[in-house]
Amino acid sequence: MSVESLPVLKPNDFASDQDVRWCPGCGDYAILAQMKKVLPDLGVPRENIVFISGIGCSSRFPYYMNTYGMHSIHGRAPAVATGLKTVRPDLQVWVITGDGDGLSIGGNHLMHAIRRNMDLNIILFNNRIYGLTKGQYSPTSLLGAKTKSTPMGAIDNPLNPLSIVIGAEGTFVARTIDTNLKHMGAVLKRAAEHSGTSFVEVYQNCNVFNDGAWDYAKDRDTKEDTTLELEHGKPMIFGKNRDKGIRLNGMDPEVVQLGKGITEDDLLFHDERAPEPSLAYLLTRMRHQDGFPEPIGVFRAIESPRYDELINDQIEQAKASKGPGDLEKLFTSGDTWVVE
């Protein structure tokens, strides 16, 4: 099949023949729909796309995509994807994970995938709960969260997924929200296009076990005050009337009211391409409290060498310097003797 004759695919061409089995009303549906919408735009044939997941409600995702896929085991999707992408850099590889799958049992694989910066797209559905196992707290559940396993409230400080990823020097780090379809679509597209490991946290509602976890960031009435849409090169402005901004005071961000002597130029300008991750880290620290908004969008997007490219480069270099592998040569290397 020649490139020209590639058929133009529609979202539905990416639907597998399996019934989608999430609870009615689950935020996962919106993410699935958006993924199917984004993929045709990328122009990658379905057979060159692979979805790898772990275990969790979110991790059923690959079953619903008409691509290659593996619903692997709990927490290990980044590692499965690493093996796959190492030997087959030609494939577009997505990793679908949850806050439990990706940050609890799978936290280490995630961290190492990030540092290797292979060309993977990791999408973490954060619903601040274990959905599939019916409602235990997760590493992103808030302090005090009462769940099946914490009847008196959770006592471990939650992990901030993006802080962890920036800690491991992620080259593409973003956040979006299940109900914010347009934003999600744009973020997923950029994640796919980024060369290197893309990490996207999606605020996802589990309406059965943790309903409303993200309402503050989704509610029409509040979302413009509780979130800040990051745009590269733009000042950080938010609020229903776009009259609030983020200013830096030493190392501390502060919320300021625009006007009254404060202009856009006083504000912090977003630089997703800053070589050092310190700004991105600082942005991950901004949570919906004390009047701060939570940033959504792309926190960081820089180019950096990729493990999958480098390892294959070494293969080519080795071939160039030693010639392609030759068993005869291999066997006779070093000391041999002949018996006649």
Binding site: A79, G83, T336, W337
Partner: protein, 622 residues
């Protein structure tokens, strides 16, 4: 170098030499050089390097002793020898821990200068055994002040005393080379290769080597030279090879002949790490080595590489394999071809990391949740690793499943001569991916069925990138044929049986079990893995003594060859020799209700021929 010696040369059939000293004394190097030289001289050889614990113990302590034993012979040999004919001890700690293995009347060469107060105290000697006459009674003792002699030899090269002393092992080698009439040439070449860039070090080592040789030639006390003639080996080109190297090369060959990339997912662990090290050198063969963050990542990356359509391997040792158990369930469920290597070591837990053992057979057979059968094969010797690696790949591909390959520390670090195979004679394993559908992707009703089965019950391998074959696999129970998730009770039963049957069907695709010896008789000695050589030698000895004993060495542990039961039942008694508490024996008892006896040992050491022979004799006598 060819020297004419004035001293008488005694011809020997075979000999066993052991170098021992502190970990810092370069005994492994000495042993390797002596091995290569003997092999080049046409002997059959077998070696046994014995490291201390992974970490370096303080200099001069018993915990820090490192040894290397070489058995070389003018006939076929299979083991590094039970006892030692010549022992080189570089310090008192080495002497006290190794002396027990020197045969009465054997040659004992001691580095006299190390037998000072401190050295003796560290070894726990109250007085110097070199002085109290005790050693001379039993052995041919040669006290050599190697430190001084080496320093003199390298004098003038501008080396520090520490650097000079590092050449002592070459002095010791030179002396033993003279003793066994060995050429210095190969070691001279080695020195050039290894130290060429540091000419003064190279020169120092050359001088020390020569000084040792000349010392043997000159000193009166050493009055006989020995010579072990060429063995009659099948014609061909040979090299000496270690088990881990042979294994790595076997994998490279298998991948190369299949036309696939080779992916190794591994996390370092003794004694398996050398497979990673070796494969990392062969990138020009399209070998991709991935040092993962842990063993779980190593095996799951391996599953990913297999799903991607390439040759995928993971290698570890017991504790690392324990971590892979859950993921191996996924490999079994997804029915993807791959190889899982366990270079066994002393357990349980961290156990004895540098010592050998065969106690992970149960783990390979049963160490997963649920009914989760996997084929298991095992290598018999260092060179056999080359063949077994290819065989594992053949089974994995032809039957579409993960295959366990067991070796052990003894095989992995031991070495033997290996006759280089003709590349053209190696049998490639053909990889056949599923073909794209003519009217694929459901649009015309034709859909890909990832769990459709052939006569071996194996399913198609669909390489991502192939149009029309998009499909999803996973760890939930699969519906047969379609591969969809299924909770259907009857399907679950069917799939459990299918996965079991699939492994059983391998029995149709492997050679029948052979025995070495009479086809029936009084006793059958059964072995698997590393004890091969010791059992073969012992059984040969018993046969030579006229006993009706045969040897049955198993490469295939699951499934067993089809004729195994009949083989076992052809002897009055069956004795299973293994370095564990009787794991294969248990499996045979369960399978065949056969009252097999066990010869078992768990001491972190290989069997000695004598131990087996003795047991054969008691079995026959009782």
């Amino acid at each position: 170098m060819s020297t004419v010696t004035e001293k008488p040369t005694q011809q020997l059939e075979e000999a066993t030499v052991r170098f021992c000293g502190d970990s810092g004394d370069g005994m492994q190097l000495a042993g390797t050089q002596f091995t290569n030289t003997s092999a080049l001289a046409g002997n059959d050889v077998a070696t046994f390097p014995d490291f201390p614990a992974e970490i370096r113990a303080p200099r001069g302590t018993k915990a820090g002793v490192s040894g290397f034993q070489i058995h070389f012979s003018s006939h076929d040999i299979y083991t590094p020898g039970d006892t030692v004919d010549a022992l080189v001890a570089m310090n008192p700690a080495a002497l006290i821990t190794n002396l027990g293995d020197l045969r009465d009347g054997g040659i004992l060469i001691c580095n006299e200068s190390a037998f000072d107060k401190k050295g003796l105290a560290q070894a726990g000697y109250a007085t110097s055994p070199l002085e109290d006459g005790s050693l001379e009674k039993k052995f041919k003792l040669h006290k050599v002040d190697m430190t001084k002699l080496t320093r003199t030899a390298v004098d003038g090269l501008g080396l520090s005393q520490k650097e000079a002393d590092r050449c002592r092992n070459f002095f010791a080698m030179g002396l033993v080379f003279w003793l066994y009439d060995r050429s210095l040439d190969p070691t001279m070449r080695f020195i050039e290769d290894k130290f060429g860039k540091k000419p003064e070090v190279a020169e120092a080592n050359r001088r020390a080597l020569t000084a040792g040789y000349n010392y043997g030639e000159t000193v009166e006390a050493i009055n006989t030279q020995y010579h072990v003639g060429k063995a009659e080996l099948p014609p061909g080109t040979y090299r000496n090879i270690m088990g881990n190297t042979a294994l790595a090369w076997g994998l490279v060959a298998a991948a190369h002949l299949s036309g696939r990339r080779l992916f190794l997912g591994a996390y370092p662990i003794t004694p398996a790490s050398d497979i990673l090290h070796e494969l990392a050198k062969h990138k020009h063969f399209d070998v991709l080595t991935f040092q993962a963050e842990d063993e779980i990542a190593a095996v799951t990356a391996t599953i990913g590489a297999s799903f991607a359509g390439e040759m995928a391997v993971t290698a570890s040792s017991g504790p690392g394999i324990a971590l892979k158990g859950e993921a191996l369930g996924l490999a079994v469920m997804t029915e993807l071809p791959m190889i899982v290597i366990n270079v066994q070591r002393g357990g349980p837990s961290t156990g004895l990391p540098t010592k050998t053992e065969q106690a992970d057979l149960f783990q390979a057979m049963y160490g997963r949740n649920g009914e989760c059968p996997m084929p298991v094969i095992a290598a018999a010797s260092p060179a056999d690793c080359f063949d077994v690696a290819q065989e594992a790949w053949r089974i994995a591909v032809e039957h579409m499943l993960p295959v366990f390959l067991l070796t052990d520390g003894y095989i992995a670090n031991g070495s033997e001569p290996w006759r280089l195979p003709e590349v053209a004679s190696l049998k490639p394993t053909k990889v056949k991916y599923a073909e794209p559908l003519a009217n694929g992707d459901g649009s015309n009703g034709e859909t890909f069925l990832p769990y459709e089965r052939n006569e071996r019950l194996s399913r198609p391998w669909a390489r991502p990138g192939t149009p029309t074959l998009m499909h999803r696999v996973g760890g939930l129970e699969k519906q047969d044929i379609t591969g969809n998730v299924s909770y259907d009770p009857a399907n679950h039963q069917h799939m459990i049986e299918t996965r079991a049957k699939k492994v059983e069907l391998i029995a149709d695709n492997i050679p029948p079990q052979k025995v070495d010896g009479p086809e029936s008789g009084d006793l059958l000695v059964v072995s698997w893995g590393g004890p091969y050589g010791a059992c073969a030698t012992a059984v040969h000895a018993a046969q030579a003594a006229g006993k009706a004993v045969a040897h049955c060495h198993l490469r295939y542990l699951n499934p067993f060859p089809k004729n195994l039961e009949q083989v076992l039942r052809s002897y009055k008694r069956v004795l299973v020799a293994e370095l564990n508490c009787g794991q294969l024996r248990s499996i045979l008892r369960d399978k065949f209700l056969l009252d097999a006896a066990g010869l078992n040992k768990v001491q972190g050491k290989p069997f000695q021929v004598g131990e087996i022979l003795e047991r054969i004799n008691t079995e026959l006598a009782s």
